[in-house]
């Protein structure tokens, strides 16, 4: 028992050593990453803040109307009005640009890893436990190396977010490709697909709903992490919440929280709508086009005839 008490595994010091070593030897690489992430984040934020709030809100409402439906569009209009009313527009847009930038990087890294996992069992066996580790690690832990490598501010916040939000993109890309049925893969091969054609013309399109579920989760995780990343100076709505906590200002904390919820719902519903395929989605635009087509003879004949032809064939 004494031996166990005296035993100290130097896991903490080893990790510190590794971080130091990376910092000493990979400075150009770290600078490059910081520059790339910073460039995308800053420009997105600049773009979003340059657009007048009312115009921006109208664009979001219009996307909601086309992709989701009129109920959601109405909700978005009211919600964005509330955000402006709370005087949190700049913070919300800042958080959103950080979320989008981090999610783009997470997908850019996550998709290729997911594809490699799906194509190769060895890669899967190696990556899977790393993903498990990443997903069970408390999010605060990512802040420490991010701050050590990249200092304080938006860029380390975005990088911590990229790492935290990446696992679902990887996992669900892998899952989606592996779920494609054997016959679909065989059909692709039987008609002479090269491996690349098989991936892009058969596997990825069929995996799209699953991959989009991963994108949706990545964005949601990014949003939660961006709020936490305010602790290392990422700014935005997280900063509002953090200030509320520090000053025990319940009203301010609630306003910040409400902003996060609104942003979450809008991002969630819009990204979810991209996961549906073919004509399964009954959006207003498509229905409007179909309805118009039916009135003009000759152009919209197909949707109207399809059920009749189906009956005839049976």
């Amino acid at each position: 028992m004494d031996a166990l008490k005296n035993l100290e595994l130097p896991i903490g010091p080893v990790v510190e050593g590794v971080v130091d070593w990376i910092q000493d030897n990979f400075e150009p690489l770290l600078d490059g990453i910081a520059a790339a992430v910073g460039f995308v984040t800053d420009n997105l934020e600049w773009l979003f803040l340059t657009i007048p709030p009312v115009v921006f809100a109208l664009i979001v409402v219009a996307i909601g109307l086309v992709r989701v439906g009129w109920r959601f569009a109405l909700f978005a209009a009211v919600a964005l009005f509330v955000v402006m009313g709370m005087d949190l527009w700049a913070e919300t847009v800042s958080t959103m640009s950080l979320v989008i930038a981090a999610s783009l990087f997470a997908m850019g890294v996550g998709f290729p890893i997911g594809i490699a996992m799906a194509k190769n069992n060895l890669v899967e066996a190696v990556v899977r436990p790393i993903l498990d580790l990443m997903q069970t690690m408390p999010p605060f832990v990512y802040l420490i190396p991010a701050a050590m490598f990249f200092g304080l501010g938006k860029v380390p916040g975005a990088i911590a977010t990229v790492i935290f939000a990446m696992p679902p993109a990887v996992r669900l890309t892998n899952l989606g490709i592996r779920q494609v049925s054997e016959e679909h893969v065989e059909a692709g091969l039987a008609f002479g697909c090269t491996p690349r054609q098989l991936l892009f013309k058969v596997q990825l399109p069929l995996a799209k709903p699953t991959i989009m579920a991963g994108v949706n989760q990545t964005i949601m995780l990014a949003l939660s992490m961006v709020v936490i990343a305010s602790m290392i100076g990422a700014g935005g709505l997280g900063n509002t919440v953090l200030t509320g906590i520090n000053r025990l200002n319940i009203g301010m904390g609630f306003e910040g929280g409400l902003g996060v919820v609104i942003l979450a719902i809008i991002l969630d519903r819009i990204t979810q709508s991209f996961g549906e395929t073919g004509r399964a989605r009954s959006s207003l635009l498509r229905r409007a086009v179909a309805a118009l087509g039916n009135r003009v003879p000759g152009t919209g004949a197909v949707p109207a005839q399809a059920p009749a032809a189906k009956r005839a064939a049976e």
Binding site: S181, H184, G192, R279, A306, A313
Partner: protein, 379 residues
């Protein structure tokens, strides 16, 4: 009759497919006469296909039959190397494909062969037209001409009105028509059909079989059709191969298989088949039943009627009538008449019924006795 046998379109020569770590070992066990189950128990290896040799002729519909697990789906995938043969050679148009490079194999699949699947395997995010054009798109053919060819294929299968629909909007039968159109748009010399109609309900299945036979009449292709449905095999097959636990036990025409099964397995397999649809008058007629009498065409009617029936043949051996009480000028049966449609004729005739080919030549006669013997499947 000396016909020069053309080179087979597809040939398998001693092809084996063994799933497992040490196929050489399993092959020795197979050749030593061990069964599939014994090998699985002893070595853990699965024998998919063993020692399959067959030749498929150009333009025929070759049906591969067997119960599930008999290796028929594996066999058809060996023909386009979706599954790699473990041993043996697979020759397509005289070229052994087992030695082809990936690039050559892709060219072969794009240009010479197409495949139709049991569960259709259509791409749900593409319209019917884009699904039909899939093979052409993969082969890098430009949009205008691939759409033109795909449209023609869609017209061929009778889906012209639905080319802009998505697969999700179609019924099962229509989906398989799209599957067929996708295969036809490549204009392949060889079509592999893996249980293509098995997922369809019986009425639609018959309709699709008729459709396939019609397409085959218009543009003959070499078709390898996998099926577990007896009636389907009898209906569409020019020749049938029967598989049992990885082995090909018999390759023959439907009629040969029913009259002369290779073993008890094949016999029991085909026991339930409706023979009255398999055989025609031409298959069962015999020259031994009725005596023949040569006459000049002119005085056929003048022959005296008597109790012993005989056929009257003119100098060109064309059927000219019969001598039997009350049978003068009896209508002969066409050789292609299926048994099911000649039952009442033979049953009601007081004498054997003569059979002629389309040119009017006398082929033989069918008595009530031969008919009953054919229908009797208990032996």
């Amino acid at each position: 009759m000396v016909t020069h046998e053309p080179a087979p379109k597809i040939a398998c020569r001693n092809v084996y497919k063994i799933f497992g770590a040490n196929p050489q070992n399993a092959r020795e066990l197979v050749d030593a006469g061990k069964t599939k189950a014994e090998i699985l128990r002893e070595t853990g290896m699965t024998v998919g296909v063993c020692d399959a040799s067959l030749e498929i002729r150009e333009g025929e519909i070759f049906v591969v039959m067997g119960l599930s697990g008999s290796g028929k789906s594996t066999l058809v995938r060996l023909l386009n190397r979706l599954i790699e043969p473990t041993f043996g050679a697979v020759e397509i148009e005289g070229t052994d494909i087992t030695g082809m490079t990936p690039r050559e194999l892709i060219q072969l699949r794009r240009q010479r062969m197409a495949m139709v699947f049991q569960s259709f395997a259509l791409l749900p995010h593409r319209t019917v037209l884009d699904n039909a054009a899939f093979g052409l798109e993969i082969a890098g053919i430009d949009k205008a001409s691939r759409y033109e060819r795909a449209r023609k294929a869609i017209e061929t299968v009778g889906l012209g009105a639905n080319s802009d629909s998505y697969p999700g909007e179609l019924s099962g039968g229509m989906k398989q028509r799209v599957g067929l159109a996708r295969a036809l748009s490549n204009d392949p010399a060889i079509m592999l059909m893996d249980e293509a109609f098995s997922a369809l309900d019986p009425l639609i299945r018959t309709e699709m079989q008729d459709e396939l036979l019609r397409i085959q009449r218009e543009t003959p292709r070499t078709i390898v059709f996998i099926s577990h449905d007896l009636d389907e095999a009898m209906r569409i097959g020019d020749r049938i191969a029967v598989m049992e636990s990885g082995r090909i036990v018999q390759v023959a025409t439907p009629q040969e298989i029913v009259t002369n099964p290779a073993n008890d397995y094949v016999r029991s397999f085909f026991k339930g088949v409706d023979v009255s649809r398999v055989f025609t008058a031409g298959d069962i007629c015999s020259r031994d039943i009725l005596p023949e009498r040569a006459v000049d065409g002119a005085d056929a009617a003048a022959q005296p009627a008597n109790d012993t029936a005989a056929v009257l043949l003119d100098t060109a051996r064309n059927y000219a009538g019969m001598t039997a009480n009350g049978a003068n000028g009896a209508e002969p049966l066409a050789a292609a008449t299926p048994l099911s449609e000649m039952l009442h004729v033979v049953a009601n005739a007081p004498h054997p019924v003569p059979v002629v080919d389309p040119a009017g030549h006398y082929l033989g006669a069918v008595s009530q006795r031969t008919l009953l013997q054919t229908l009797d499947r208990t032996r």
